[in-house]
């Protein structure tokens, strides 16, 4: 592998990792703060992709679609929490697993009824359509770089939200200790609703952003879900920073696994997880394995 190729591969790893982070961040947020195991997160990602498809078809512009999608998803996430999850917190994980598993089936079928089972492409807005040449062998699509940039921006925004704002303070309080948060006069119900719709929004956003490169197809959520689980497991529950590190790590392992060890490319990232479990059961930056 020449140096140029190596660098391009690193770039590939980065942008795959960044995407993973964006999807997984919503998951880890909901995990860490609400202690809900959400199997339907992958389906949310799929909803995003299909939203991108139908809204761009509707409005003709991806960015209008994105804006619309963001608003829709926040509202929808809010309602979703209220209808399906608000009474689950006192139940044990089994019930949550069951509920979200049911949601997966419903969402998949609704998708098939409303939009159908065909594979769709989503057009990249003209001014991002081009490619720039990297090395002398290969062009790199501008849109992919744009997505990566967007991921970074969103990541920073998230960091700022959690670390620097009042809402973030409340969220962290809620995460560390429900009772304490309540005693601080935080409406935990409302807080959870906000956090959930935030997580939902992140999943949908990443789905929409990545739709033009990933294409839109049935069952696209399932794969994404499992990789997200890996991100959360490796990063450590509820740790956004951990998720970030883990996502990039997986990006690299996956990309270079495909290149250097084709026979085992499928299991490379799982082996990574096994090793992490061996040395750090709580994940890279997770303090509380016991929940």
């Amino acid at each position: 592998m020449t140096l140029a190729t190596f660098l391009v591969q690193c770039l590939n790893s980065m942008q795959y990792g960044l995407l993973l982070f964006l999807v997984a961040s919503g998951l880890t947020l909901v995990f860490g703060i609400m202690g809900i195991v959400n199997l339907a997160h992958g389906s949310f990602y799929m909803i995003g992709a299909y939203l991108a498809y139908s809204l761009t078809a509707l409005t003709g512009n991806l960015f209008v679609a994105l804006a619309l999608g963001l608003v829709l998803s926040l509202i929808f996430g809010y309602l979703l929490e209220w209808v399906f999850f608000s009474f689950l917190y006192e139940r044990d994980h089994l019930q949550q697993v069951l509920m979200t598993y049911g949601l997966i089936l419903v969402i998949e079928e609704l998708r098939s009824i409303l939009i159908g089972d065909d594979v769709h492409g989503v057009a990249v807005p003209a001014f991002l359509a081009g490619s720039i040449s990297i090395g002398n062998d290969m062009l790199y699509p501008v849109y992919r770089l744009f997505v990566s940039a967007a991921c970074v921006v969103l990541a920073l925004a998230l960091y700022w939200l959690i670390r620097k704002t009042r809402v973030g303070m409340k969220i962290r309080a809620g995460a560390s200790n429900r009772e304490m948060a309540q005693s601080l006069g935080i409406d935990i119900g409302l807080l959870y609703r906000v956090v959930f719709s935030l997580g939902f929004g992140l999943a949908v956003m990443s789905g929409m952003l990545f739709a033009p490169v990933s294409t839109v197809y049935p069952g696209m959520g399932a794969q994404m879900l499992i990789v997200c689980f890996l991100v959360v497991v490796i990063g450590g529950i509820g740790s956004i920073t951990g998720a970030f590190v883990a996502a990039l790590l997986i990006g690299f392992v996956d990309t270079f696994g495909k290149v250097l060890w084709q026979e085992g490319a499928g299991i490379a990232i799982y082996l990574l997880m096994a090793v992490i479990l061996l040395v750090r059961p709580a994940g890279l930056l997770g303090e509380r394995a016991a929940r």
């Binding site: 009474f87 139940r91 069951l98 049911g102 089936l105 689980f229 059961p281 394995a289 016991a290 929940r291």
Partner: protein
């Protein structure tokens, strides 16, 4: 799962009744599809019961149990002779053993985690095995492989029963089901079983009392894995075809579904398996969007039946009241533990 399965969902008489009904089934049905369906129900019952040992008895919510089912099935497919029938008992023992081996190794890793974390890690390991058989050499690849002959029951080269006959196979599956239930019953009434129940309910206290909790969990995980492997082996024999999809997380999800919907105890697991198989069978012919109905059923049942099918009307009422209570914005009382944990 009630403590020590004391307040058992099924009384002994119910059990005998149920098993006798199963034993008599071939008399009513010809050896065709219906019988196959029933033996599938029984195989799934074994599978679900093995998971119940983890979920209900030990409090280990595993979303990767299909891994051991698949390992059992593949172990069988790979070990049976290409020409000629295999010995059922020997093969089952082998498949169970291999599955247990996997369970121990995987358990050593996943049992280092808890709760949500455990759910995800088990899922991930099942997926890992999926890729091993899917991409690995000598597993038959993505299309799967065949078993060409039904097994025989016998010893020292003598054949006692040939299971090519549908009924014979059905009855041997029933026998294995009985065996499984026997094992689980013995385990749960032993000190070991009581300790598992204790761990499920209050791990901290058990450690403080001096129990090697990790070992107990591992043992439970291994037994559950072995039984799942046996179920997988039977599945492979019944259909003569194994495929990587046996490892897919949908399988894990479905069996967990059976256990949770079924409710407390091994009776619950079997009820879950029975209803799940027959229901999905029935719905799938009703409409092509049966999974929508199925999903809605699940969601409703979670909302209404925190105790699963066997939970009964009382629990149903309680759950609804709780719902109404929180709708009115009154503070929600957490359901008492023994009601909440299966």
């Amino acid at each position: 799962m009630t403590f020590f399965t004391r307040r058992r969902a099924w009384s002994a008489s119910n059990w005998t009744l149920f098993l006798l009904a199963l034993a008599a089934a071939p008399a009513i049905l010809d050896g065709g599809f219906e019988l196959e369906l029933l033996s599938k129900v029984m195989i799934m019952s074994i599978f679900a019961a093995s998971l119940q040992l983890l979920v209900g008895c030990t409090g280990l919510v595993s979303l990767g149990h299909a891994a051991f089912f698949g390992v059992g099935a593949y172990a069988t497919a790979l070990v049976v002779p290409q020409a000629g029938a295999a010995n059922l008992v020997a093969t089952l023992a082998f498949a169970g053993g291999i599955a247990m081996l996997f369970a121990v190794v995987i358990g050593l890793l996943v049992l280092r985690t808890r709760g949500i974390y455990f759910i995800m890690v088990t899922l991930a390991f099942a997926q890992m095995l999926y890729y091993v058989v899917h991409d690995g050499k000598g597993f038959g690849g993505s299309d799967g492989t065949y078993l060409y002959f039904k097994p025989v029951v016998g010893m020292f080269g003598k054949t006692w029963v040939d299971l090519t006959d549908g009924r014979a196979f059905y009855w041997s599956v029933l026998a294995v089901l009985v065996f499984t239930l026997g094992v689980l019953w013995v385990v749960m009434r032993s000190r070991f079983g009581h300790a598992l129940a204790g761990i499920r309910h209050n791990e901290q206290r058990m450690t403080a009392s001096g129990y090697p909790v990790f070992l107990y969990k591992l043992a439970s995980f291994a037994i559950g894995g072995a039984l799942a492997g046996i179920a997988g082996s039977l599945y492979a024999f019944q259909y003569g075809f194994v495929n990587p999809e046996l490892f897919s997380w949908h399988q894990s999800g479905n069996v967990l579904l059976m256990v949770i919907l079924g409710g407390p105890g091994f009776g619950g697991a079997i009820a879950g398996a029975l209803v799940f198989v027959l229901l999905s069978d029935w719905l799938s012919e009703l409409t092509k969007h049966w999974q929508l109905i199925f999903g809605l059923l699940i969601i409703v049942s979670v909302a209404a039946l925190p105790l699963g099918l066997t939970g009964g009307v009382a629990a149903c009422h309680a759950a609804i009241e709780r719902l109404c209570a929180r709708r009115r914005g009154a503070p929600v009382k957490a359901a008492p533990k023994e009601e909440r944990a299966l």
